[in-house]
């Protein structure tokens, strides 16, 4: 019997709201108020998110972000800084007692990311899990992911790149030489790819059509790979209220964003 999951598609929203809603979903699923949930969303305006353990000024050119109207937010999950522009973002919230909840971080990524790999396969893109938290195709990164566990619940979220503007990405992210391992930015460009670049059919597609196409593929991918019965729904009123509150009081505050 398939696992019953709630499916949310919440469109393109501001960074603080996106992170507020993910935390609100974590809490409502943890409290047993809501079913385990799979959410798809995007970012408008474009945004940078940093991992829980990262230092804001070390990772982000905040002046460049402000000048370009790019939101900056800290996640409640670990992992690295991400420039969110042309992408599909997903989040999964499920209780630790759920059969799909592995007890350690790596096994958990390995299992839940089957949904992304299968979804990319629906698009004709052969990809694979690259520990700790990436998915690659042809050796290039197409998806990055992050996870936390709180209140007896797992929250995992991640991105699937639809298109990449590496120059814009590097105009707002500070990439230290240690991470680049001495290679030039041009080399880093070769390590990242996108759905647009990998789609077997080469007809020009708008970002909007790629967004819709990819979400449909990911729905199929998650349903097949994890045996999910997805029930399309909307966030509850209390989840939306909490999301707005968290967006305002936590994720928009400098005290949180510049925590480390």
């Amino acid at each position: 019997m398939a696992y019953e999951f709630r499916l949310l598609e919440t469109g393109l929203r501001r960074a603080a709201f996106n992170m507020g809603l993910d935390e609100a979903l974590l809490r409502s699923v943890a409290e047993g108020v809501s079913l385990p949930t799979l959410r798809f969303y995007g970012w408008a305006p474009a945004a940078v998110s940093i991992g829980y353990f990262q230092g804001l000024e070390e990772e982000v050119d905040t002046a460049a972000c402000a000048a370009a109207g790019i939101d900056v937010v800290r996640r409640i999950t670990g992992g690295g800084a991400v420039f969110h522009h042309h992408e599909v973002t997903y989040s999964i919230a499920l209780p630790l007692r759920h059969p799909l909840a592995c007890q350690n971080i790596l096994d958990s990524y390995r299992l839940l990311l089957r949904g992304i790999v299968e979804g990319l396969s629906v698009l004709g893109i052969e990809a694979e899990f690259a520990p700790i938290n990436d998915i690659v195709t042809g050796g290039k990164k197409i998806s990055g992911n992050a996870q936390t566990r709180k209140l007896g619940c797992i929250l995992q979220h991640g991105t699937i790149l639809l298109d990449v503007d590496v120059d814009q990405m590097f105009s707002v992210l500070k990439v230290p030489q240690e991470k680049a391992k001495g290679k030039l930015i041009e080399d880093i460009k070769q390590r990242v790819t996108s759905v647009r670049r990998c789609l077997p059919q080469k007809e020009p597609a708008t970002i909007d059509s790629l967004y819709a196409l990819t979400i449909e593929a990911l729905k199929q991918g998650f349903a097949r790979a994890l045996d999910l019965a997805l029930d399309s729904s909307s966030p509850t009123e209390s989840e939306l209220l909490l999301a707005e509150q968290l967006a305002h009081e936590k994720f928009s505050s400098l005290a949180w964003t510049a925590l480390r």
């Binding site: 991992g51 829980y52 670990g78 992992g79 938290n133 992050a146 996870q147 709180k150 991470k179 480390r260």
Partner: protein, 98 residues
């Protein structure tokens, strides 16, 4: 005196450390404060602050061993960060002549 260290040891994510140690600087210098940052995972996240706090008083050369012990003691699960990795970054700085 304050050390700003950064590295990406084998098996770890990018790690940054700010360590304030008692002078004169040597492997046995005592840690006065430490902040560890980077794109690693440590769950529960809030317990990581306690690990940093309890590294105070350790000798620099004991940093990795003490870190691993505190992670175990507090029941943290980490990915992309290890005591060995932290030691490697500190040793690299000594090797380069801090």
């Amino acid at each position: 005196m304050k050390l700003e260290l950064i590295g990406k040891p084998e098996g770890c994510k990018l790690l940054r450390m700010t360590i304030d140690v008692e002078p004169p600087l040597s492997p046995s210098s005592r840690i006065r404060s430490v902040s560890i940052r980077g794109d690693f995972f440590a769950i529960p996240e809030e317990a990581f602050d306690e690990v940093e706090d309890e590294l105070v008083g350790a000798a620099l050369e004991e940093l990795g061993r003490r870190f691993d012990w505190l992670v175990w003691q507090k029941g943290l699960e980490c990915a992309g960060i290890t005591g060995r990795g932290l030691d490697e970054i500190v040793q690299k700085e000594f090797h380069n002549g801090v």
